[in-house]
Amino acid sequence: MAIVFGFLNVYKINENYRITSRFADESSKGIKNAYYQIHNEILSGKITDEKINFVINKYNDLFNEIKNGDFSTEYDESRLTGYVYGDYSLFKSCFIAELEYAITYTNFSEEISHKAYENIEFFIKHGNNSDAIKNQYIYNLYKDRHINYYNPTDWVELYFNYDFSSLLIIVMIICGLSNSFPAEGESGMLKLILANGKARQIAGIKLANAILFILLLTAFFTIINLITINTLCKIDGLLNPVYSAGIFKISPFNFSLLSAIIICEIAKILGYVFIAELIILISALLRNTIAAICSAFALCIGLIIGASFYTNIFANPINMLTGYNLIANFDCIIIFGNAIHTIYFAMAVYILAIVMLTFVIKIIFVYFRGR
């Protein structure tokens, strides 16, 4: 099943790339090759005056050539993309736009931090401590931001906006775990387990197995996602800050893209474990496999539909599986006078909920089912 789903996953990533990527259609193949060639040979890495001058000079030359109007529209091997206009649009819409974003980003973030600083004074003056703390937090987050390295970031959008693998993992969780307790009852093993007096340990082992199963699935699909995306558009600049990618322009986080991947995957694992424990809880309550599977699917479909109405991460564990929303949006909670990111707080809440659910499942299995 994992192999079939793995292939489906690769197909879906390709579909997403075909729909969203600027280089997806056949006519852009030359531009895509030239883009990555220039990056590999000249531009990737630290932003320097030489690199900026190279792009500007090249762009100006192409602009003048186009402006004069006497350029050839025929295929020309000496051109990067094969055509003058192709080279011009490559420099204009790719390199110039992206370098401009990287260079001017400091101004943009300074503007936010400056406004937050003004707000702090305003809220303190009016005795609104909560918003003053919030703005102090915004100020600290957005001040001193710089993008020093320039790397292609097409992969960022493709990776963080991709949620289909989460659906596949949920289906596999249902398949793997919804039958975990009723199967013992139906095969008569439950009587042996209870007679042996090791029901608590068995329940614990089942939960530990569920977590291991989820870890393996997450690792499997994350690796497939990264490999597939890397073949479509090179994954580069993992150590650059998240805001170096245009889609995370206002992201409140200052960590690297690699850290963003890790945090997203941790959040996803917590979401999966929580959903898995809900499924196990249902299976511990129901004695019938068919009823347990049916209920597990109904629960997951309900959660998926519910996530489109309530995007709050505390309201629905499905919202923990949407990588882009977790990293892109600014959302903080004030606890004991300190502002912390909602995602970190949500992670703590989910860990607590998972621990509580573990106890509930054990109690149900040992006492409720034992009778």
Binding site: Y11, E15, F164, V171, F297
Partner: protein
Amino acid sequence: MLGYELKKLLFKQYGLILALLFVLIEIITLNFLYSKINFPNMLTKEQYIKYMQIMSGEITEEKKEFILSEQKKILTAQSEFKSLQEKIISGELAYDEYLSKYVMLEPELKKADAFLMASNRFKYAYGDPNRRYIMEKCDGFCRDYPDIPIILFIVSITTVCFLSEENTHMIVLIRSYINGKKKTFVAKLLALMFTIVTMVFIIAIIELIMIYREIGVEAFMYPIQSIEYFSGCKYDMTIFQVFSAIILLRTIGYFFIMFLTIFLCVIVKKPVPVMTIPFAVCLLQQFIFSTADKAYYIPTGFLRASGYFKGDTYNYNTSELVFSAIPTYVLFLMALLIVIIISFVIIIGDKYYNGKNKI
């Protein structure tokens, strides 16, 4: 034999309770899908209903004239109100005089929101007056996804019906008797099909009532193109005809899911894959295709069905083709494919009941 199987499925295996539960879920879901339009206030609602009572149906010269005269009245009132405001700000007008003039304009001004909503319906119909009538929106009818509760019901009762004998080893006894060999499989199939068709029929009646509540009885005979979702539909059909066709196609889709589950029951014989695979197929087909039209080129397209009548659809802003019309032959090819799959499963199922017991 059919009576016994039906009785067993509905009463002993709790099929009836399950059916009632899922009908209740359907009522709640459909009520949510066919929710009424949200109006900013009661006055707008009353006025909108008045407009729609006058305008509903085919576009006529009188209706065009009515819309234009109403537009003129409202625009004149709005412009006079603007000049009144300017005058009171500049001090040219006394407050009492302003009030007396405003009272005269007020009835027309309060119609503005309702008129905008009604004129949008008119504008859409005016785009192709021969094939589009003015009517309320009917968004619930245009859903492009499978009915999950009924699929859950079908997979559950099919699994119960075909797997319980394997789990309790009753299959050994069934195979030992002539009646069991020859008639059980057919009786089970007929009992399941009867249950599914009854369920679909009840839900269709409920949905018809919901549609009636939203668009009224006359609108059932309007051309299907009157609904924006079906604006590109190439068939000359009424709303009621398309509704009936969609229900019929979905029923074929449900039979496909039923036979897929039966196939897994007799081949795999384990409840987890038997239930997970049909659910997964229904769920994943919704998300795997980037453009919805592709989903109609596989048998599960019948579970959605509305897309077969949709026609070419373009993005309003970019003029990009977002849904390509499904050719009629694809509809028949898919139906043929489902018939072949069903025939294949019937042969496999019959062999299962006629097979030798493994000792």
